[in-house]
Symmetry: C2
Subunit: 113 residues, 2 copies
DNA sequence: TTTTGATACCTAAGAATGTTATGTATATTT
DNA sequence: AAATATACATAACATTCTTAGGTATCAAAA
């Protein structure tokens, strides 16, 4: 099952931040593969969504970047700076709370009639 | 805490369908209040989001409506039809699965360095 | 009795955030 | 040699919210 795309909306930034918190540094393509692996291909990040998201997080001042070359091929590594680490905690806690609320709503028992 | 608005995206339809599954019929304003109550005001549905969503679900052929008057004030009740009940099951199961995947991602332990 | 707040519907402009499509280039596998 | 994987990026478009505005009834407070 691949989730319908609306579900990813709103959670992408938090997922990316969490991965960066767990790994010193990651590059874009690596993130797409890692998410695919971790979720058994249920979540497939598109590059059209991921790269703008990374740029946006960078512009928010949460990430720092280093460019590396593997042969002639570029890699742009991203890592959390201090503000990014703090923001990541916030977002994870908010998303966790939201998930709990959602779970509660979905688990409510029918009180039909 | 009120969740930042991106989080609601993609889950609103499922929340509405679930409420309709649990209650024979509900009207729009009632849904906003019910969600506010159930989530201790953490999720506040805006009317600008809810009404178009209800219209969209209706156009997808998932809902039936009845109009009732309380004095001179209109109420438009929505309820699931057969297709709606089936779709609701699908969506709840997808969202539940997605929530599990997300929880897994968020619970991953740091493997820094 | 007038005003405020709650109830109850609705739409439209704008923002945010995805998808899909496309472009460029290198490296590896078949 | 061709296809697939790696690796970056942007742009047109779609979806789905928020914010703001509109209309109207009813109840409670000033």
């Amino acid at each position: 099952m691949i989730y319908s795309s609306e579900l990813i909306k709103g959670t992408l930034k938090t997922i990316v931040l969490k991965l960066l918190a767990d790994n010193n540094k990651m590059y874009g393509y690596e993130i797409t593969q890692r998410v695919k692996d971790l979720t058994k291909e249920r979540i497939q990040l598109t590059e059209g969504a991921l790269y703008p998201t990374l740029h946006s997080l960078e512009q928010e001042g949460l990430l720092k970047t280093e460019i590396e070359y593997i042969g002639k091929r570029m890699r742009k590594y991203y890592s959390l700076n201090k503000a990014g680490a703090a923001k990541t905690k916030e977002r994870i806690s908010e998303l966790t709370d939201f998930i709990n609320t959602l779970s509660f709503l979905l688990d409510l028992k029918t009180k039909n009639a």
